[in-house]
């Protein structure tokens, strides 16, 4: 029995889990499926076009930049494109979507060195670029209103102000409507229900740490209770309103949990989530913009390295104040 020359010698461990970046990204896409489906049900074919353009543009941009033929590759570009689509209005023209996707991939990710090296969440970078460049399409205070189950309906005619614009606007919808998502808003942000379903799936699969969405949503709720103004009957309902309205759910579950741009330590992740919630609510309650999720997360992304440095976990058997 001669087996010399064909055995692989490697350092232990000698077996590896079957999980790869690609399989994790597939799970994220599966998790976003309910939200994408809701987007199409609510906003019709325009939603579908936006999603397809964003995903394809992101994958193509990355493939061309990396000069690789495998356009799905590790799946991260598809996730960036999908996330970007879900935070765009259904009325966004196709070229805007393509520009957004391309800038998310190039400026948000590749110029830093590609996967693993970017500092800011690429999808949010893409959105931020569109907001400052084409404010008319992306103002964030006027959004298309949904037409449930009217696939062929052109959504662009009917628009509504975001529920975050004012108390008067907010109370025109019930909390149940906000939870289901039948309100004006960006494609994927309106249905808290759909986003939560995907979120639980991701926690179950171990891909996201509950500390980030927990800290984020918890902080938004507490700030809403304390400073929200007490509409919807009582202060707790106001807190809930701030959780289900706008981009908190999609931001907390899918954006603030982006692997690359958030802390790796358990304590750091809690701090990160709380920080996102805090900045979001500062902007919502006292800032010049109606919504603050995008900038809340982008600002906290910048703090990620320093948060990691100061939250190194206590080693097994270690004592406090050691070293």
């Amino acid at each position: 029995m001669i087996i010399n020359g064909k055995l692989i010698v490697s350092s232990s461990p000698l077996i590896r889990s079957a999980e790869t970046i690609r399989s994790v990204m597939m799970d994220v896409i599966i998790a976003l499926f309910p939200a994408a489906l809701m987007a199409v049900l609510l906003f019709g074919y325009r939603a579908l076009i936006t999603i397809i353009f964003a995903v394809v543009a992101a994958m193509l941009t990355e493939a061309i930049w990396r000069r690789k033929r495998d356009i799905f590759s590790d799946g991260t570009a598809a996730v960036t494109g999908l996330l970007l689509a879900l935070i765009l209005p259904a009325t966004a023209p196709w070229w805007l979507v393509v520009v957004g996707s391309a800038s998310a991939i190039i400026i948000g990710k590749q110029v830093f060195g590609g996967i693993g090296y970017n500092i800011f969440n690429p999808a949010l970078v893409g959105r931020a670029i569109l907001v400052v460049s084409w404010g008319g399409h992306m103002a964030g205070d006027i959004w298309p209103s949904p037409q449930p189950f009217a696939f062929g309906h052109d959504i662009s005619a009917v628009t509504g102000a975001t529920v975050l614009a004012s108390q008067e606007k907010a109370v025109t919808y019930s909390l149940a409507e906000l939870f289901i998502g039948n309100i004006a808003g960006s494609l994927g942000e309106t249905s808290a229900l759909a986003l939560l379903i995907g979120g639980f799936w991701l926690v179950y699969k171990g891909h996201i740490d509950f500390r980030i969405p927990g800290g984020f949503i918890g902080t938004v709720f507490i700030m809403g209770v304390l400073f929200g103004g007490g509409f919807y009957g009582n202060i707790f309902m106001t807190g809930l309103f701030h959780v289900v309205a706008g981009g908190v759910m999609i931001g907390a579950i899918y954006m603030a949990t982006d692997f690359v741009t958030t802390p790796v330590t358990p304590g750091g992740r809690l701090i990160f989530g709380v920080g996102c919630g805090l900045i979001t609510m500062l902007i919502r309650l006292w800032g010049a913009l109606p919504e603050g999720v995008t900038y809340g997360i982008l600002l906290m992304n910048a703090f990620t390295p320093i948060i990691d440095r100061f939250t190194i976990p206590q080693r097994f058997g270690g004592v406090k104040e050691s070293a």
Partner: protein, 444 residues
């Protein structure tokens, strides 16, 4: 009662069903035996060329001492069977280098040396007698760490030991040798545990068994029913449950301080196989010349639990088990998480070899590594609560000071981080490099 667990850990496919129901088979004495002079942690043995006249061409009997070292942290090696010494010189070692070894051509008579005789009743032996028997028998930790057993039975005066834990966790995937030993040699395990308790003056014995081996748990529990000071503890099935610090935490609730040994909290751990070896050394006077190991993996035609003489070559064992399949990608001595990959099968079984695995490419999941995506799965599975990705990065950038600050030296290389990593980064390998460099700078 809620079952205690430890932080972190992973659940690889344990693949134990291939061999867990197979009784231990005694493999016949092979045509060639290779006895390396180092089969333990500590000072290597020196060949007994002068005293015992061990040289090329001489005849040795089973149990005859071939090498020894006067150092305290060391263990002698013995001839596993009778035969002629046909060579003395460097030979392949599971560690991946060549180490001086005595090659014996067995004569098939398996004649035992004259000094092999029972040591007497346990009641009549003093703790010092037990330590001496264990040392002379060359017994080391059979779980794979190969730390000389008599050293663990000789704690310093100021560190009294009250608990002895027998490690029957067998958390490494694929391996079922300890499982079978518990089923087939349970009484010897209990006797060995009693001998250890006596040697250490301990008050309690605990046998820890992962809850994926209910048959072994039930058997051991019925066996200790009459024993007041010995209990069997069911452990959650999670790798690395058998790591000493995790085992101690789950069985006793005590946490070994960082950088310290278990004796710091009054505990000593021994593997089930070590307990059996101690029993045989006391009852029969036999030194450690054979062990039970698992031969398995999808590359092996006929998986088995074998009792083999130390020094048997992996190639002979694989031959005995029906040979290797063409698709074999890795040959491993030990378990798949902490074992050693071998470049060929011409390598002897040593005291710490708990398994011979032949893994096919589907099992090993070969893949190139991608950049770290900071998913922090390594941070959440690390049983020592370290930040593997950050330590590995520090090592990769040759920033060993940073690696040390991140407690690289606390890593015991269980492999959970590399296992779980979706980017397939060889984290343990980087951390190992960092540890080596840190130790080097400390020794200068």
């Amino acid at each position: 009662m809620a079952q205690l667990s430890f932080r972190g850990g992973v659940h690889p496919d344990d693949a134990k069903e291939m061999t867990s129901k197979l009784a231990i088979v005694k493999m016949p004495i092979p045509g060639k035996i290779v006895v390396p002079m180092q089969q333990h942690i500590g000072a290597p043995c020196e060949l007994l060329a002068d005293v015992e006249k061990i040289e090329k061409g001489c005849y040795v009997k089973a149990g005859q001492k071939l090498g020894d070292n006067k150092g305290f942290v060391s263990a002698p090696v013995h001839a596993p069977t009778s035969g002629t010494v046909i060579d003395i010189g460097p030979y392949n070692h599971p560690l991946g280098m060549k180490i001086t070894a005595v090659t014996i051509e067995p004569d098939g008579k398996d004649e035992w040396a004259e000094n092999i005789k029972p040591a007497g009743n346990l009641e009549d032996l003093s703790p010092d007698d037990i330590r001496k028997i264990v040392r002379e028998a060359g017994i080391v930790g059979l779980g794979g760490a190969t730390f000389p057993a008599h050293v663990k039975l000789s704690p310093p005066q100021e560190k009294p030991i009250d608990v002895v834990i027998i490690n029957g966790a067998e958390c490494e995937p694929y391996l079922t040798a300890d499982h079978r030993v518990m089923l087939e040699k349970s009484e010897e395990i209990l006797f060995g545990l009693k001998a250890m308790i006596k040697a250490l003056g301990a008050v309690e014995g605990i046998i820890g068994i992962e809850n994926n081996k209910p048959d072994a748990f039930n058997l051991m529990e019925s066996l200790v029913a009459e024993e007041e000071n010995i209990r069997v503890c069911s452990l959650p099935t999670k790798y690395p449950q058998g790591a000493e610090k995790m085992l101690i935490q789950v069985t006793t609730g005590r946490t070994v301080p960082a950088g310290e040994l278990p004796m710091e909290v009054g505990v000593v751990n021994h593997n089930v196989g070590t307990a059996v070896a101690i029993t045989q050394a006391i009852r029969e006077g036999k030194p450690l010349v054979e062990r039970v190991l698992t031969v398995t993996g999808s590359g092996v035609n006929k998986p088995a639990n074998l009792q083999v003489r130390l020094g048997t070559l992996a190639s002979e064992i694989l031959e005995y088990c029906g040979g290797l399949k063409e698709t074999t990608a890795k040959l491993v001595m030990g378990g798949p998480m902490m074992g050693l990959a071998q470049p060929n099968a011409d390598v002897p079984i040593i005291k710490g070899t708990s398994g011979v695995l032949a893994l096919t490419s589907e099992d090993v999941f070969l893949s190139e590594s991608s950049p770290c995506i900071r998913c922090a799965k390594c941070v959440s599975v690390c049983p020592m609560n370290l930040m593997p990705t950050s330590i590995a990065q520090a090592s990769e950038h040759a920033n060993y000071k940073q690696a040390e600050k991140l407690y690289a030296l606390d890593c015991f290389e269980c492999g959970c981080c590399s296992y779980i990593c979706p980017s397939k980064i060889p984290l343990v390998q980087w951390i190992r490099i960092g540890k080596n460099e840190i130790m080097k700078s400390k020794n200068n």
